[in-house]
Symmetry: C2
């Protein structure tokens, strides 16, 4: 087929297969590299995006990720933040449920965002709008497109200019790309056709030799990302195996507006009852989602008869759990059922040319609401790396850090999820039976509470990676003690600072929206002191030199802050220093107002106390390198040794630009101050 | 013409003439009444909306108004907030300018929004998008439409069902509706064609007898709003006169991205120099607007030769003022010139059927950035009243309060503006010459500082009005002492409260987006005490009765909270009371989660201390009636006498619904609590 001269043949830098959460984040990242000529295509076999049902849980870290793309506000304004988890357990005397503890759903202070819920379709919509904007309208999802063949030419894999991956695709007919089993059960929208309880109908859509040649195309890609979900076709082509355990717990899901006298219907409520377990997720508007444990047994790997799972069966079970409270959902919007199991792929990448991401790599219960979060975080990690390699800024070796960073996370996730799922599906209950039966209420709550910290996503740590200098790969160690609350390998925490130029207050990360660049944050210390001004001057000389990291890794035809951006946060009095007293041009490039900040009181939002919150000494200061995905790469000192560390950090990650092609500070015109 | 049977003849509830800031706010308000069958049309003689230049200053009150329409976030995220005003004056030794004081541009704590700047075209865009959504896509602006005739049939004016205003309109050709003098000066966009310095070219577009009949239409309207700007055609048809003073100060305006070494280019800078005065307004992106005092004299009412005002002439003057700093604007985006004068219309309304609003009523200098704010506030005040009259909820008499509320404001505005304009254009300067010359720097700064409080828009007070029970019209007095910081007649200040249902924190006004309804806020006091629960129960009985204000003023076919919404804010512990312990159904209508709030600590945003901030006793509580435009109508006591006041308040504003057509609390189904 590949040799049929009549079949259309095309080249592309990146081909993304699958436009679920993982695929659209990949696309949105790569859209930001279209400015460097990177070409990306996205195909999905379905003709329509998700409209109802599916994932809706967003953890604070995912919202921080949206923030880095500057789309958090749109999403937050539509989402329902969850504030409280209420635990319910059987009352010993009447046997119905009663409220136990309440705890905050997000640990206060850990992020400026909280656990929130928004329908997956809306989230994807906002990401796709951003992709469209950032790619200047050049990228769109090609729907109803089925990949049929995938070949990797291993000999070409070391050649940066080659297209080693060949993917044959076919345009499906409208009929083929619609879910065949139908997604309706009478009037009610059903998600069963996507559930792991039934055989994947799509496996039937296979290579058809007799379709018209015009519907086929061979795409030669430099990179392919398989973001094609739990049944991943890409994964199967590569021969990677899903490893791990299944489980015989079966859960049902129902979405709708309930009529109930249950008092915590607007809280996340974790209910253990004598009739089974349930989880309530309050959603946007007055919508609520119920996760309902079912009295159904399925063997590991087996399938159930989908006709068993009906809206009525799910609601009957919910009513039994709710006793003595009543609940009705007059119009069920969507329902599904699934079996809880934890599995992880044997490999993440083939020759660092074909990657899989999201549910294609890991599956687990939707209970802790991690599926969408974990899937988006995979490609958020991967795609700035691919972008920089394609833009010519980075060597292909950084692609190794995708698996080295994301696999440990997935292992951790699956372990936590297994524990939680077990607890959730265990049959508890009356406090009397506690220790005898498998599950202790206290245990349950404690594990959930500890789990929360992991599930919030803000404590994820990358190690064993050339891109995080936390010393665990023996390459480079940070001076973590200079900024104890900026842990290397974790996401850069944000605190409020004030613009030197206009006194406006900002969250520090809001000054560095993700556009591909690394950021060097110079915590320059107290500029009221001459000695600290002098120190910054010394750093500036190094940064302004043609061997400084900014010049060395930025080609002439890029914006000077396009690869490495330098921001300064000092902690003197804002009005004690004039902007022109900051070293020009690298630290204060003339006409640029987003490089200089101060940890000082603001007019309208108090004092951010950034130095205190980061635990940085106002005398010593610190230098922090923040990666394009807002993870901390390096913490070091504000002196020559520190600048050596910075050099060393980037030398492992970026490609040195030949001397004559460097972006030089000398090209920037500085307007002298008036002499009066 | 009106009798020509071939001319199309149509009826409409409201015809808005002019789609500038005043017109679009009018349209957006009335869009919210389409659900009650109210039909509104908007015509504008220009074929395109504003794209560059014109107003851009938004005061905090205008942003609060956008918040009430739930569009503040969109606008704020694009706008540039202004934080600091820097005063510059001549240095005695070198004669160039030097920085004096810095003050915050918005008084901290007065609003959660600050003075901000965003291009008028973007603001109008967001309002029009909202109009479209709220009218379910039924409303759009009809552009290139010129009104030619306007007649009011006074005999019909007392008849609620009549269409007493006849407006003849004509569809202009594309050529006619484009500004004839052109808006370009070489490559540069010029606003001179709209300036008061040159004769209004549009006055030439007049009644043409020989256009095809198909381009004409007679619109019979119940109400007409003339929002057609400073040269208002509607005002001229009604024979209202603009009264007040002109002035011979001429100012120029330039927009662009400057190259400069002036340190305060991102602050609002008020510069007095030996060469003249200037005001710097930092805008979105790196844009800056310069308001430049010109060395041009124009007689009162006279016009200047527009060829005198060129980009070069403006920049030469700016450079002279800036000495010893340098400034260049390589690409001027837009420029204009105008003459400062203060004028007010003799009347606001004809028979309470035709109203004028915005620049049609009042003109003043753009210096304090009030034009757009004041214009939008006019129709924001007017249109919920028209909406309620047309929906049948309110008698026509409430329309009188438009002029009685807005004229005193305009007088105040014009007085303040005259003072400011004089100070700004005065020739000051070196501190030595201070008292001899007309302007004292201290004076100037003090007046500006006092002016700020007025110009922020948050202290505007309506009195002499049936819609504000501050006793000045002798009708009804508030018990202001029960909530000292909720001044009757001013906008309802907002503080944080927490939802009883899910623990989420809200700004109180964010729980009551403007949809036409009045809101009764019951500050119910400390619900931990039985006596306070009992008191709320007594209030509830009255509200649940068929003679209570909610039932009495709400027809059966309206949502029960569509005319008067009741919210409760208590101050006991949130977890000390269950939701079903609040009186059902009026105070807690089952299935409704946006009525019950508590002044308690939140998980993520501290304690709002609403009672303390409003100065309401936690024992006594208070009742506050908030108007649809978020102005405070009444403050009274949480007892029978207070409820009598509430009755009395609404009796002057709303129409009593006949007993059998009332929306009754008895129709609401309450689910009983389980008995265990
Ligand atoms: C009922 C339910 C509730 C859930 N609730 C939550 C929750 O609350 N929170 C949460 O975070 N997660 C939840 N999840 C999990 C979540 O939906 C997934 O983890 C997440 O969608 C995975 O994203 P993904 O992009 O990896 O894969 P998917 O979302 O599965 O996207 C894969 C995409 O690839 C396409 N595709 C598949 N095969 C091919 C092929 N061969 N060729 C081309 N295209 C292909 C599909 O059409 C699809 O668009 C839930 C899942 C279910 C079923
Ligand atoms: C250079 C300049 C700078 C300014 N800067 C500021 C500022 O910083 N801040 C601020 O708040 N204000 C500023 N203003 C003032 C501000 O632009 C006006 O106050 C404001 O636009 C008035 O709003 P409006 O809706 O009443 O009238 P306009 O904005 O004038 O709108 C009137 C509309 O009616 C239409 N129209 C006119 N006549 C007819 C007719 N006969 N038939 C049909 N349609 C008609 C017009 O086409 C126009 O769309 C500035 C004005 C200028 C000129």
């Amino acid at each position: 087929m590949a040799s049929d001269p009549q079949i259309k043949n095309s080249n592309v830098d990146v081909l993304i297969i699958g436009a679920g959460p993982a695929g659209v984040i990949a696309a949105d990242w790569l859209a930001r590299f279209t400015k460097y000529g990177v070409k990306t295509r996205v195909v999905d076999k379905r003709s329509h995006k998700v409209f109802t049902g599916q994932a809706d849980g967003l953890n604070p870290r995912s919202i921080e990720m949206f923030q880095s793309f500057n789309i958090a506000n749109k999403i937050v304004s539509e989402a329902n933040p969850m504030n409280e988890v209420c635990f319910w357990a059987p009352n010993e005397s009447h046997g119905g449920i009663e409220r136990g503890r309440r705890i905050p759903d997000t640990i206060p202070g850990i992020s400026r965002y909280v656990q929130s819920v928004l329908h997956q379709g809306r989230i994807e919509r906002h990401i796709l709008d951003d992709m469209n904007e950032k790619s200047n309208g050049t990228m769109k999802i090609e729907r109803g497109v089925l990949p049929e063949t995938l070949e990797v030419n291993e000999e070409l894999c070391q050649d940066d200019n080659a297209y080693p991956v060949k993917v044959g695709i076919r345009q499906l007919s409208e009929e083929e790309s619609r879910p065949k089993l139908g997604s309706k059960n009478g009037e009610v929208e059903s998600g069963l056709y996507k559930s792991n309880l039934v055989k994947d109908e799509d496996d039937d859509v296979e290579f058809k030799p007799d379709v018209p040649v015009g519907d086929r195309e061979i795409i030669n890609a430099k990179y392919v990302i398989g973001a094609d979900g739990a049944h991943s076709w890409v994964r199967r082509q590569l021969g990677f195996k899903m490893q791990g355990e299944g489980s015989d717990f079966v859960w049902g899901v129902v979405d709708g507006v309930p009529i109930t006298n249950f008092p915590d219907i607007r809280c996340r409520a974790a209910i253990h009852s004598n009739a089974g377990s349930m989880m309530i997720i309050p959603r946007e508007g007055s919508l609520v989602r119920l996760y309902i444990q079912l009295n159904l047994q399925v063997d590991e790997g087996g399938h159930v008869d989908r006709s068993l799972i009906t809206p009525k069966m799910l609601m009957d079970q919910a009513k039994a759990v709710f006793h003595p409270y009543s609940i009705e959902i007059p119009d069920i919007m969507w329902y599904t059922g699934y079996q809880v199991g934890q599995r992880l792929t044997s490999e993440y990448a083939k020759n660092d040319r074909v990657f899989i991401a999201g549910d294609a790599c890991h599956t687990h219960s939707p209970k802790a609401g991690q599926g969408m979060n974990a899937s988006m975080a995979d490609t958020y990690n991967l795609c700035w790396k691919i972008g920089h390699v394609l833009a010519g800024h980075a060597p292909r070796s950084i692609l190794k850090t995708y698996e080295s960073e994301r696999r440990p996370f997935a292992e951790h996730l699956i372990m936590n999820d297994a524990q939680l799922a077990k607890l959730f599906s265990g049959k508890p209950l009356s406090s009397a039976e506690l220790n005898e039966l498998g599950v202790d209420m206290k245990d349950f709550e404690n594990i959930l509470e500890r789990g929360i910290s992991f599930f919030l996503g803000t404590s994820i740590e990358y190690f064993n990676s050339t891109a995080t200098a936390n010393g665990r790969d023996g390459r480079l160690s940070s001076k973590q003690e200079l900024a104890k609350n900026i842990p290397v390998g974790q996401r850069f925490p944000s605190h409020q600072v004030v613009s030197q130029f206009d006194g406006r207050h900002y969250h520090l990360v809001d000054t560095m929206f993700a556009d591909g660049q690394f950021t060097i944050v110079l915590f320059a210390g107290n500029m009221d002191k001459q000695v600290n001004r002098q120190r910054l001057q010394t750093i500036a000389q190094r940064l302004d030199s043609d061997d400084g990291v900014v010049s060395k890794y930025t080609p002439k035809d890029r914006q000077r802050d396009g690869v490495i951006d330098v921001k300064t946060v000092h902690c003197g009095g804002r009005t004690n220093i004039e902007v022109h007293e900051f070293p020009q041009p690298t630290i204060y490039p003339p006409g640029t107002y987003n490089k200089l900040y101060v940890d000082d009181v603001s007019y309208h939002a108090g004092h951010g106390e950034a130095y205190k919150n980061y635990d940085i000494s106002k005398e010593d200061g610190a230098v922090v390198v923040v990666r394009p995905d807002h993870f901390v790469g390096l913490v070091t000192s504000l002196d020559g040794a520190g600048m050596d560390d910075v050099d060393k950090y980037f030398s492992g990650l970026l490609k040195t630009v030949p001397a004559e092609q460097r972006n030089s500070a000398k090209d920037i015109k500085v307007i002298p101050q008036p002499k009066v």
